[in-house]
Amino acid sequence: MTAAFPANAFVPTAYRVIRQRREMRDVATLELSAAAGELPTFAPGQFNMLYAFGVGEVAISVSGDPGNRGRFVHTLRAVGAVSTALARLEAGQMLGLRGPFGTGWPMTAAVGSDLVIIAGGLGLAPLRPALYHLLSHRADYGGITVLYGTRHPRDILYRREIERWRRRLDLDIEITVDHADRAWHGHVGVVPALIPRAAIDPENTFALVCGPEAMMRFTVAGLRDAGLAPERIYLSMERNMKCALGLCGRCQFGPTFICKDGPVMRFDRILQIFATREI
């Protein structure tokens, strides 16, 4: 007996790599298009499950422009077997994709407000679609500040794009590095240290934060010190994930599932669990 049931959400769809760009030694950006049919739309902050043939699947945030229909853009670091296999894919090769999944950044709630976007390392990738959206709907939003921290000047992601954005008069971008080289004239130190310089109006600002959990911990503390209420702070969380459907149980974060209640979570909803170690 074979059952006729709705589409099986465990089965990926084949996508082709249109372009591969090496961002850093171990970081690549893939531009993907569907091998057949139309590309689903996505909200800034959502993620896809990318499958490398025979190796496995990982959750990677969408980092492209939500206004550019036709392709999915993903930036990923080669850290494990799957991400290494994905980072090695070249234009013309194929991978499997399921998604997009999860919650997005509060682009609608933030209309009319200021935004402070705070990224650590590769955490800039899931925030880039939000930036694209803000810049293409610039008149809908107030002041926009980007605070970005990396280890070293050579680790600055999307460097040419950031240089272009820094020339804009309707966007403030501050970059800090943990370890400077001689050519570096910018800030040195951790990204939360930039928060007091950002002149945040706490009553009228939304903060979008993505980076390593320790970085987000200190960033949230800095934002709270600046007077931002927990419901104005959004974090993109990460946990081990296999199905992205709320069925494998692995991405639990307290009572929430990162795959469907996240990855973007409003801080007041996770305040207590975020403060607990090894939860």
């Binding site: 007996m1 074979t2 059952a3 049931f5 709705p6 589409a7 099986n8 959400a9 465990f10 089965v11 990926p12 769809t13 084949a14 082709r16 091998a35 499958y51 043939f53 025979g54 190796v55 496995g56 699947e57 670091r77 850290v79 494990g80 013309g92 090769q93 194929m94 991978l95 499997g96 990460e238 946990r239 081990n240 296999k242 199905c243 459907l245 709320g246 069925l247 494998c248 149980g249 692995r250 639990q252 307290g254 009572p255 599932f257 469907k260 207590q272 403060a275 607990t276 170690r277 090894e278 939860i279």
Partner: protein, 387 residues
């Protein structure tokens, strides 16, 4: 044979021969009948061809960290509590192929697999196990995303429940309000009556399908005495229940005490072996394994039961989120008894006692809850050592 069709909720009496006829009727209707039988030193669930396959005259003696089969003084078919297995191994199999992929040059094709759906009939499903099936129904088919294979396997199941006549030493279904009597969700429910030389079953009709099938089984009308005797069996089982668990405010109790010192105490005993999660009838967590053939032309993805007690379970780049056994035990118990209520509207525990029995060091979830409750931080008080 071919008697009149009873109404849902009606009761009738059936002999041992009637049970054999019931099994034959299910098999002749094309069901794959799974029921209890002796195997691997325990009572396990496997294919059943007749009453001769049932564990007649056997019982199980269960305590924390201990399970022993023993002979009963009578020939009861269902005179045991529950074994290490549960019905989830049929509805949510331990190993399941999800899909396969084929590669030729740069081209990739991902192909769904035909979902195998035997028409299952389950014989001997206890009240706690029925609740467990309903809980997994909610997990796999009650949300925005569904597990279509689970739904396909679950569809059209014929469930013959058994109201418990023997309380296991580690059971606490009364506390979880899931037993010892099956409360709905069955096609037929049996109460085994084996006192005073007679060996019969009181049968309760639970569905139209159950009524239809039972109409063909030799039976007699149930008297008031028969019904009273069946109620007495269940009442005695409830009284003899080995353990209790106080559920009062349990969600707030566990969610509000993540740094309780008891987590350290239990972690000093816990081997993080994952036995509790394997025997739990509601634990649903899985991992996946990907592989390809040697030529690299075909690949497949296989889903397997996994456990929150493994380090791999919470691994993100840099290491596991829950490196300490304390955090892993806390995750399991807090999820089961508290977070599950937020996620799926009900506790994830049915009170079957398997996690207590099959824990190699005899950790007892009811005892752990009581210990946390005895010395809990009340809501609103800042907890020491937090964050």
């Amino acid at each position: 044979m071919g008697g009149h069709v009873l109404a849902i909720g009606a009761k009738a009496m059936m002999t041992r021969d009637g049970l054999q006829a019931l099994i034959e009727a299910l098999l002749s209707r094309g069901y794959r009948l799974i029921g209890p039988r002796l195997g691997e030193g325990a009572i396990v669930y496997d294919d059943i061809g007749g009453i001769a396959d049932l564990p007649a005259g056997w019982t199980d003696r269960q305590e924390a960290g201990s399970y022993r089969l023993e002979r009963r003084a009578d020939a009861a078919f269902f005179g045991y509590a529950v074994g290490p297995q549960s019905w989830k191994r049929f509805l949510h199999p331990p190993v399941e192929r999800l899909w396969q992929a084929r590669r030729e040059g740069d081209e990739l094709a991902i192909l769904p697999i035909e979902i195998e759906t035997p028409k299952f009939a389950f014989l001997g499903v206890r009240g706690c196990e029925l609740r467990a099936i309903q809980i997994q129904d909610r997990v796999f088919t009650g949300g925005s995303q569904v597990d279509v294979a689970y739904g396909a396997r679950r569809r059209g199941n014929f469930i013959v429940a058994v109201n418990c006549g023997t309380a296991g030493g580690t059971c606490f279904c009364v506390s979880m309000a899931s037993g010892p009597k099956a409360k709905g969700g069955f096609d037929l429910a049996l109460t085994e009556l084996i006192e005073g030389g007679a060996h019969e079953f009181l049968v309760e009709i639970g569905s139209a399908t159950g009524a239809d099938l039972f109409a063909g089984i030799p039976q007699r009308t149930a008297s008031g005495d028969d019904i009273a005797a069946a109620e007495a069996v269940v009442a005695r089982t409830a009284r003899e229940m080995g353990r209790t668990l106080d559920n009062t405010g349990i969600k707030e109790l566990l969610q509000g005490n993540p740094n309780h010192p008891r987590w350290d105490t239990v972690a000093s005993r816990c081997l993080t072996c994952a036995n509790c999660t394997m025997v739990c009838p509601t634990c649903f967590c899985t991992t996946v394994e990907d592989g390809s053939d040697l030529a690299g032309a075909t690949a497949a993805r296989v889903r397997k039961w996994d456990s929150c007690f493994t380090l791999d379970f919470s691994f993100v780049h840099g290491g596991p989120v829950r490196s300490e056994p304390r955090a892993r035990y806390r995750q399991w118990m807090t999820h089961k008894l508290a977070n599950w209520i937020d996620q799926f509207g009900k506790s994830g525990c049915v009170g079957c006692g398997r996690c207590i029995t099959w824990c190699p060091v005899g950790i007892d979830i009811t005892e752990e809850v009581a210990a946390i409750r005895a010395n809990a931080r009340t809501a609103g008080t800042p907890e020491k050592g937090g964050a």
